[in-house]
């Protein structure tokens, strides 16, 4: 096979993998949007917060160390213990559930029945808060995150493809791990939303808060549930991205990578997030590869959005989103 083509295939494969990572972030958005019609701006910050908490617990950091030291003049620097990754993940999960509960108790509960944009704004306030809170709690330095996921080139694929085509493909082990985890996650979530009555209730709530209340769906329960799941998804995304680039503020910006995915796949569709992620991943990588050099590169940021935009013009609800009902 010609070199150029092989490379294009490699780029495509990597694009697919990158897409899965985007999709992981997008999933969190989808869950919450599905369950409440809320566009959760704080999803990225939640991923950051989850990852920060995970590292903090693993490394035995004392929460609010700096604050305590500054106000009381103490010199605390960590508990001095290390928590195994699995336990730490579990504890982080508990934190995220607590967070979900607090969000519902302090914010959402009071905004039942408001317009989507108002709820959106509330999540922005939440994002602000969590941004400051996370930093204050765990510090804003860069933390390396290692929960034992493999990382780096997969030699087996490299060697096999080298034998086959005379060109070794680069596939990152972390990406493979992400793909497997994402596949499991999506399967579970689809099953949950499709085959349980809670799943049906989620969609009911998103349609009409009042009517959902009137048939006895407890918004509190549904929201705590979905925000907890979204917190869990955020944690998974945080682990993946944190392993890649260290845990730090910029982690919250991965949300921006998820938005075109969301738009393309449809705000309400769990499989859509995955398919959208794959399309965006491949699209932007191939575009950068094929057209990027002609226009000066760094096209990935905007191309994802433009690609999604073009899709939307033909399908305004995204690929798998629920049809937007237009009736009088």
């Amino acid at each position: 096979m010609p070199d150029q083509l092989l490379f294009a295939i490699e780029v495509t494969l990597n694009g697919l993998m990158a897409g899965v990572l985007y999709a992981l972030v997008a999933l969190g958005f989808v869950l919450i949007f599905k369950a409440s019609g809320i566009f959760n701006y704080a999803q990225g910050v939640m991923a950051l917060f989850a990852a920060l908490t995970l590292v903090g617990i693993m490394e035995g950091q004392v929460p609010f160390e700096h604050l305590i030291n500054a106000t009381f003049g103490t010199e605390i620097h960590g508990f001095g213990w290390e928590v195994p990754a699995l336990l730490a993940i579990l504890l982080t999960m508990v934190t995220m559930v607590l967070f979900a509960w607090l969000v519902n108790w302090l914010v959402l509960r009071h905004l039942v029945g408001q317009e989507p944009i108002i709820l959106f704004m509330a999540t922005i306030g939440l994002a602000y808060f969590l941004e400051g809170f996370g930093d204050m709690m765990w510090g804003s330095d860069i933390k390396a995150l290692d929960v034992g996921l493999p990382q780096g080139i997969n030699s087996w694929i490299d060697e096999t493809t080298l034998d086959l085509f005379g060109y070794g493909f680069f596939i990152d082990n972390l990406d493979i791990a992400a793909t497997i985890i994402a596949a499991i996650l999506v399967a579970v979530l689809v099953a949950f939303s499709q085959y349980t009555k809670q799943g049906r209730a989620l969609r009911a709530v998103a349609d009409d808060h009042q009517a959902a209340l009137s048939v006895g769906i407890s918004l509190n329960f549904i929201w705590v549930l979905t925000w907890s799941i979204a917190g869990f998804v955020a944690l998974v995304a945080g682990i993946m991205w944190g392993t890649k680039s260290g845990v730090q503020f910029s982690l919250s910006l991965i949300a921006l990578k998820a938005l075109p995915v969301l738009m393309l796949g449809g705000f309400t569709s769990i499989p859509g997030a995955i398919v959208g992620g794959l399309i965006i991943g491949v699209g932007e990588k191939l575009f950068e590869f094929l057209v990027g050099p002609l226009v000066g590169g760094a096209t990935e940021n905007w191309f994802a959005y433009v690609l999604a935009l073009i899709f939307l013009v033909f399908r305004p609800q995204g690929l798998f989103g629920e049809r937007i009902i237009e009736r009088v």
Partner: protein, 406 residues
Amino acid sequence: ELTFPSLSYRTGPYAANGIPFADGYADYFAMLNARDGGIGGERVNLIECETGYNTEKGVECYEATKGEGALLYQPLSTGITYQLIPRVSADGIPMHTLGYGRTSASNGKVFPWVFNYPATYWDGASVAIKYLLDENGGSLEGKKIALVYHNSAYGKEPIRTLSELATEHGFELIELPVDHPGQEQKSQWLQIRRERPDNVLMWGWGVMNQVAVQEAANIRYPMDQFIGIWWSGSENDVKPAGDGADGYKALNFHAVGSDFELYDDLEEHVWSQGNAAGAGDQGGTVLYNRGLYAAMIAAEAARKAQEIHGVSAITPAQMRDGLEQLEMTEESMAELGLAGFGPTFSASCENHGGSGKAAINQWNAGEGRWEVLTDYIQSDQELIARLVEEDSMAYAQENNIELACQ
């Protein structure tokens, strides 16, 4: 009382880098106050102002502090630097941009109030190429060199120099821009993997550095052929990649580690007193040292100004004179307890850019520290001077600036 504002960023996307720098900057002055009672008998008043790497907040900080008798600005952000250049020129307050900001501001004739010694980005580019020439027996003919850069004013700075150098030395330059924040660089690194450039240079900042180092490790790019600018050469940038980062190189214009007499003073007068800035855990890191270095230059310039004008409470204008006549020698640094900490240089009315010297550091992942690989290498002064002249004169013309130093 001598007022030094510190426009720091301890929050936002670049906080991880802003914190150690701000800590070093603050600790040095705190040490001077505690040990010597300030500079020349005047206590130092450090006003820290949080910018979050945000231009508008930077402006707010500038306006808020300039009325307090600020002597020198150190904004630590290329964006804010551009903002402040016209402002400081109008207000007559000097600004020091230590190895960042607008490179051509090293022309003191056009930018009398701006100083960017000891080295500029263009020096950095030139030094990197010089080093590679050395490594390759004096010729880069037919080699491929990739530049991975932050797609912003900062990242684009070295391109002009590098392309000049490429024609001069006959190597091919591959430009690979990475958009802010730079979390996803798969396509850039796949391209590197395919094109197999002989070397990769990087102008990155923030998370972009960590991801680049990680990706380089992932594709098994030989780390010792990967050289970062000094803003891509801190512990933050390599640690998340673990062992994979071993061998990665970066430029630097000051020493690393805490093996200096000054550190004893810091320990004695600041840290042990519980007066450390921030969380107090950054001592000895690259960026902390850079903060120290910046503060040291500021303090020495102030001392110089006091000397020249014979007053202890100097004005910003006098501070400028101190900066302009500043001379860092081996002896003067040794005296400060920082022997060999930075390159020697001296400024003049025309030259605000220093000697343009930088050294190569290499990361040792096993030990978890940077090692100094080379002496300070001098950049191609002739080329840089020409480029600086071109760019600054264009600016002067556009803005009707009367040349100084006549």
